[in-house]
């Protein structure tokens, strides 16, 4: 890690360049209230990329994000004071949602590792299963939350910032510790760089893979609870669009889909780039039918700037 090169800073450069361009067109962009709005909109995606980054660092992929988030949002909404069930756990619903996410992650990981099914297919399938369960359990209707105390998880403020931002910051802290200070974190890089060498050096590849999917599930579960608090309800479609943002943010941040290269901090920058882009295009008044094109184009530019090609021998 000693050889810090310019590439590693590229995502941050892209981020500041983007901010500069938007600020030129729309001075409001730099206001404190807008900064808070951007951080707030980033909170759930940041929690999601904390899990997704480890999976991608390992060279796998987790497509079950939307399914887990939706199912955990439904679980959360059903456990707090709501219009459908009789439960009233308040904030204690959050650990249940996180655990439920972890459990689904364990199914992802175990199926992937022990049945040797590619993570792409396993997580795609499990994601659909989760959406199916959420749909069948509710019959298409939302569970609406009436617990104001629980909704403070994202609506309330501490030290002037919405609580969602603090939850996201705590998630980044935890993920960073795991990445830098635990064996699990180092194993992930080893597996992502070269699985065969890692195995021969005694890295418990199977166990690490399962644990990483559990970790991704835990973060998705937390994101589900946050989504339920933010929108005041839980339903099967609550997470639609989250998967694209998550994977885009990880890659834009400079983490390679082939594994081994990247970091959770990169992914935080990736989320900020994606969110600032959405926010900025509305602020600059870019016509809606041009927005998607601009978004696609800028994402490719960001990725091509951020990727350190010297570390990438194979691109798939």
């Amino acid at each position: 890690m000693a050889s810090i090169n310019l590439r590693a800073l590229a995502p941050i450069g892209v981020f500041f360049l983007l901010c500069f361009v938007i600020a030129v067109f729309s001075p409001n962009f730099l206001s404190v209230s807008n900064a808070i709005r951007i951080l707030n909109a980033s909170a759930i995606p940041v929690v999601l990329v904390m899990g997704a980054t480890f999976v991608i660092l390992m060279g796998s992929i987790d497509l079950s994000v939307e399914g887990i988030v939706a199912l955990c949002a439904v679980v959360t909404a059903s456990l707090v004071l709501n219009d459908t069930t009789g439960a009233n756990l308040g904030l204690w619903a959050v650990p249940f949602a996180v655990l439920a996410g972890g459990l689904i992650g364990a199914v992802n990981g175990a199926t992937h590792v022990y049945l040797k099914v590619p993570s792409f297919m396993v997580t795609l399938g499990i994601g659909f299963v989760c959406l199916g369960i959420a749909t069948a359990a509710l019959g298409g209707f939302p569970v609406r939350i009436s617990d104001r105390g629980f909704r403070a998880l994202t609506l309330g403020r501490s030290l002037g910032l919405p609580n969602g931002i603090w939850v996201a910051a705590a998630s980044v802290f935890v993920a960073l510790i795991i990445q830098e200070r635990t064996r699990l974190g180092r194993y992930v890089y080893a597996i992502g760089t070269d699985e065969i060498t890692a195995r021969q050096s005694g890295v418990p590849v199977e166990r690490t893979r399962v644990l990483v999917f559990v970790l991704a599930g835990l973060f998705s579960g937390l994101a589900g609870a946050m989504a339920a608090a933010q929108l005041g309800q839980g339903h099967a479609l609550i997470a639609s669009g989250r998967l694209f943002t998550t994977i885009t943010a990880v890659v834009v941040g400079g983490t390679a889909l082939s594994g081994g290269v990247g970091s959770v901090l990169n992914s935080v920058v990736g989320v900020l780039i994606v969110v600032v882009l959405t926010n900025g295009m509305v602020l600059m008044g870019v016509p809606p039918f041009v927005q998607q094109g601009v978004q696609g184009f800028l994402i490719i530019v960001a990725v091509s700037l951020a990727l350190d090609r010297r570390q990438l021998e194979v691109v798939k």
């Binding site: 729309s26 409001n28 962009f29 206001s31 209230s33 807008n34 709005r37 707030n40 909109a41 219009d83 959406l131 959420a134 749909t135 019959g139 298409g140 209707f141 939302p142 609406r144 994202t154 609506l155 919405p162 989504a227 933010q230 929108l231 005041g232 309800q233 339903h235 099967a236 479609l237 609550i238 997470a239 639609s240 669009g241 989250r242 969110v275 959405t278 926010n279 900025g280 509305v282 602020l283 008044g285 809606p288 039918f289």
Partner: protein, 347 residues
């Protein structure tokens, strides 16, 4: 090619069988079915429930087909149902895409099945050109109701100020119609109300949430009202306002009449929504189809206004929400056109 031949054979067998057992035993063997996008949204879930209630009332077997947003799957399921029932089937279908309606009608006609369509069909496809199998097309006036709900928003704003508007998927017919109705209502104010910005959020509440946040930065207190092309996006915008402590002080309107939106209207946080009646479209669509199939009515003799008609969209505002909640929502399955609000008009 093999599939085509097989399908043709099956359809002709189905057609022969259905003509063979025509009049006497026809009604006994009838299956009732509903086809729509998905069971994961309240509108379609209620639509299916409406159909199921009618099927129970006449004691006939009932099936739900789901396209999952895939026209091919939708058509394949309907084909399979028609051949499985030898054409002895009434289908109330919300086609995934407009062109699908033409294929469904052709298949039904060839097999002697009966079809009612909802919302989506090509403008030049008419039930009276496919007697008697294409029974009717039901829809809601997107432009008219959108105009009404926009007027409710303008009233709540005190008649003037800037609004921001959140649209659906740009190519969807309801999204286009609702946007048009909103623009017409704004134009009618003669410049007192101004559309600050229009952004599509693809019917998605999270997207609407993010767009609303950006608008708060761009326009701040100049936003006097929020218009959303459906309730999900309206709720997304409302939650973005709530985050800033502005829920209830900036009026929001949506369309669809979901429970979340109705509660927000009750709480004074939304200025209105349009309640469709999916129980009615689900139940009455099948009832009409059933009546045509069993000969209870001679559908070919009915006027055009009974073949292509709008249902009733109720504009619900804080002023009439109590009345709306306590209304008698039941209807008579044999009074087919009681809730029709006129023949469908093409723009």
């Amino acid at each position: 090619m093999g599939k085509l031949i097989r399908n043709t054979v099956m359809v002709s067998v189905a057609a022969m069988l259905s003509t063979g057992i025509n009049s006497a035993t026809f009604a006994d063997d009838l299956t009732l079915a509903i086809s729509m996008r998905s069971l994961s949204n309240p509108y379609h879930a209620t639509f299916a429930r409406g159909g199921e209630e009618f099927a129970k009332s006449v004691g006939l077997p009932f099936e739900v087909l789901v396209t999952e947003g895939n026209s091919e799957k939708g058509l394949a399921d309907i084909r399979a149902l028609i051949s499985r029932t030898n054409g002895n089937v009434c289908i109330n279908v919300d086609p995934n895409d407009s062109p699908d309606a033409a294929t469904i009608v052709d298949e039904a006609k060839a097999a002697g099945a009966y079809v009612v369509t909802q919302w989506n069909k090509p403008d030049d496809l008419h039930p009276w050109d496919h007697d008697p199998n294409y029974v009717a097309h039901m829809s809601f006036s997107g432009v008219g109701t959108s105009k009404e709900i926009t007027n409710a928003l303008i009233d709540a704003m005190g008649g003037e100020g800037g609004i921001v508007a959140i649209g659906g998927i740009l190519s969807n017919v309801p999204a286009i119609e609702r946007k048009l109705g909103m623009e017409m209502a704004v134009a009618d104010t003669g410049g007192k109300v101004e559309i600050l910005d229009f952004q599509p959020a693809d019917w998605n509440e999270t997207k609407a949430f993010e767009i609303m946040q950006a608008w708060l930065t761009r326009y701040g207190d100049d936003i006097k009202g929020v218009w959303a092309a459906n309730d999900s996006m309206g709720i997304g915008a409302l939650e973005a306002l709530r985050q800033e402590g502005k829920a209830g002080s900036v009026p929001v309107v949506g369309i669809d009449g979901t429970e979340a939106a109705l509660s927000a209207v009750e709480a004074g946080e939304m200025a209105g929504t349009v309640a469709w009646d999916p129980t009615w479209t689900g139940g009455m669509g099948l009832s009409l189809c059933h009546a045509a199939a069993t000969g209870a009515i001679d559908i070919a003799a009915e006027p055009h206004a009974h073949r292509e008609f709008y249902g009733t969209g109720i504009v619900v505002t804080p002023a009439n929400i109590a009345e709306f909640r306590s209304r008698d929502a039941s209807f008579d399955y044999n009074d087919y056109w009681a809730k029709s609000t006129g023949q469908i008009q093409y723009q």
